[in-house]
């Protein structure tokens, strides 16, 4: 896979929180979320494979990982707009971080700040929990690059 694709989300979690702080109601928050989702490059069909698919999402979602030195980078896609947006939020928080930073990241607090904590419940079918689990799994797996 083209490694540049992994670097296409230039935002970090602070910038994301800033964007969401400006949103005053749920409509603006979700509009913002879906706009962010649009920035995500669409994974070509041949990369939407069952191996890359994240289980536990009602929509289809795929996640790729690569590591430069100690830093982890992720790339994902989904056929649902809101999940795409959620993936961008996760990439902004985790891309370029090392394993310790990823493990220490308080995602509950992050989504609370974004006004999206309702999306975080494990009973939700949006797969956010599943995505975070896979992100952490990759970060902790012994991957030689």
């Amino acid at each position: 896979m083209d490694q540049d694709l992994f670097l296409q989300i230039p935002l970090d979690s602070k910038q994301i929180i800033e964007l969401f702080t400006q949103a005053t109601n749920w409509q603006e928050r979700y509009r913002q979320l879906m706009l962010l989702g649009k920035q995500l490059p669409r994974l070509p069909q041949e990369q939407r494979t069952p191996q890359a698919q994240v289980q536990g999402c009602e929509s289809d979602a795929w996640l790729y990982h690569c590591q430069y030195n100690r830093q982890h980078y992720y790339l994902g896609d989904s056929d649902a707009r809101i999940v795409k947006g959620l993936i961008v939020l996760l990439l902004a928080a985790f891309n370029g971080k090392n394993t310790d930073e990823i493990n220490a990241f308080d995602h509950d607090d992050y989504f609370e700040h974004l006004g999206l904590s309702g999306q975080l419940s494990p009973s939700r079918t949006n797969g956010l929990h599943a995505l975070i689990k896979v992100i952490k799994y990759y970060a902790n797996a012994q991957i030689k690059s």
Partner: protein, 429 residues
């Protein structure tokens, strides 16, 4: 009798005008709705608009009271009436069996088995028939079926070498009667049908389907989970061998359901669960099973839930049949009409005679996105495959949104839903 009379009235053009006035009054339906405490909540500042009754219904206060009263006053195990409390509990529990018998028009009280729900009921039948099925025998399964009416038959087929064939659908989403006739010529042993499709709300012509199956001596099972709260059920009129439904979809509690079985065939079922209660005598060499209905009710049954189910039946019986049927019929039609008016909406199998539910997608939008954005406005609908993946494959979709109604739903709910859906459409554009 009352129903036939009402249909006659409805055909009468003159009466229609008065009926319209009557329905308009009924659509608000306040007295019934106020009996449901959960429906008064708000989420994110929006009043809860519950359009997910096909997943589970809410429970009227009197059902909750009946269960609480049982625990407060009559709590004891049943069928072990060594003391007065147990005798009281047993009487109350067994009285519900009689209530269910009347409710579904069964001939004998022994034909009514308490289960934990529809899924368990169908599993009991599939398991119970396994010993009678030989390799190569044919099982026909409704293409509209819920997984609960597919998977148990697959297990049976795997164990016996029987073959499962789906009964195909027409492009309108109804069972293809010509294809069904052709399949029946292959002499199936079992025909598994749904009364009402959980995903689309399509009503099967169940009496015709069962009669045709019986003509070739097939055993028939009808999944009535989505029918029982919405229409009058008479198992003798349907003439099926088995009819299964759940308490929680008919304003009763979760954890209780009913398996109706025609006496002779029910008695032939090999029990799925063995143990206490279903036993006449046990030695380490040999166990003799009890007679029906206990034979199929191993272990301590969900007693409080059965009492709750009895109260739910009493609740439904207290609502005049005319209100029950036409209130929902009118509302569903209104919902279908409102949805049809939206540009770029796709409705699946939406017919005037559907029961309880309407399935749809917005063109080029993921059903999950629609569901999440509706949820922000406290609209509770179901988005997904509705435990009917083969049906979704037939429709060539991954899933859809389903709005479903109940006795407490009113016109305001539908209007709220439409406003919210239009907000979603604006957001997505």
């Amino acid at each position: 009798m009352q129903l036939a009379f009402k249909e006659k009235i409805l055909e009468d053009q003159h009466a229609n005008f008065f009926m319209t006035i009557f329905w308009t009054a009924l659509m608000d339906f306040t007295p019934v709705r106020t009996q449901f405490p959960t429906l008064t909540q708000t989420f994110n500042g929006y009043p809860l608009c519950y359009l997910d009754t096909a997943a589970t219904s809410h429970k009227p206060q009197r059902v909750l009271n009946a269960m609480t009263q049982f625990y407060l006053k009559n709590n004891a195990n049943v069928h072990r009436a060594a003391h007065q409390l147990s005798s009281q509990a047993t009487r109350q529990y067994e009285a519900v069996r009689d209530q269910v018998m009347d409710f579904i028009g069964a001939q004998h009280r022994e034909e009514v088995i308490f289960t934990h729900g529809t899924t368990e009921a169908i599993n009991m039948v599939a398991h119970g028939l396994t010993q009678y099925i030989d390799s190569g025998e044919l099982i026909l399964v409704d293409s509209l079926a819920h997984h609960a009416n597919i998977v148990p038959w697959q297990v049976l087929a795997k164990q016996t070498g029987a073959i499962i064939k789906p009964i195909p659908l027409t492009k309108e989403g109804r069972l293809d009667l010509l294809a069904y006739d052709a399949l029946l010529k292959q002499k199936p042993t079992i025909v598994a049908l749904s009364h009402v499709s959980n995903a689309l709300g399509i009503l099967n012509p169940i009496e015709t389907l069962v009669a045709k199956a019986k003509a070739v001596n097939a055993i028939t099972l009808v999944d009535g989970a989505q029918a029982v709260a919405h229409m009058n059920i008479n198992v003798q009129q349907i003439d099926c061998d088995f009819y299964a439904f759940s308490g929680h979809k008919m304003y009763g509690p979760t954890g209780v359901g009913i398996l109706y079985g025609r006496l002779e065939i029910l008695d032939s079922l090999n029990p799925l669960i063995t143990g206490g209660e279903m036993i006449k005598s046990v030695t380490f060499e040999k166990t003799v099973y009890n007679t029906l209905p206990n034979r199929l009710e191993a272990g301590t049954p969900p007693i409080a839930e059965v009492i709750g189910l009895g109260e739910a039946i009493a609740f439904l019986n207290d609502i005049p049949a005319i209100e029950k049927i036409y209130h929902e019929k009118e509302l569903l039609q209104y919902l279908q009409d409102q949805l049809k008016a939206i540009e770029g909406i796709i409705l699946y199998g939406a017919h005037p005679d559907n029961i309880g539910a309407v399935a749809f997608n917005l063109h080029n939008e993921h059903h999950q996105d629609v569901g999440v954005l509706l949820d922000q406005q406290a609209i509770a609908i179901r988005c997904g495959h509705h435990c009917a993946m083969p049906l979704m494959q037939t429709l060539n979709i991954k899933g859809c949104c389903r709005a479903s109604i109940g006795i407490y739903t009113n016109k305001q709910d539908i209007d709220c839903f439409m406003t919210a859906l239009n907000n979603v459409i604006t957001l997505l554009h």
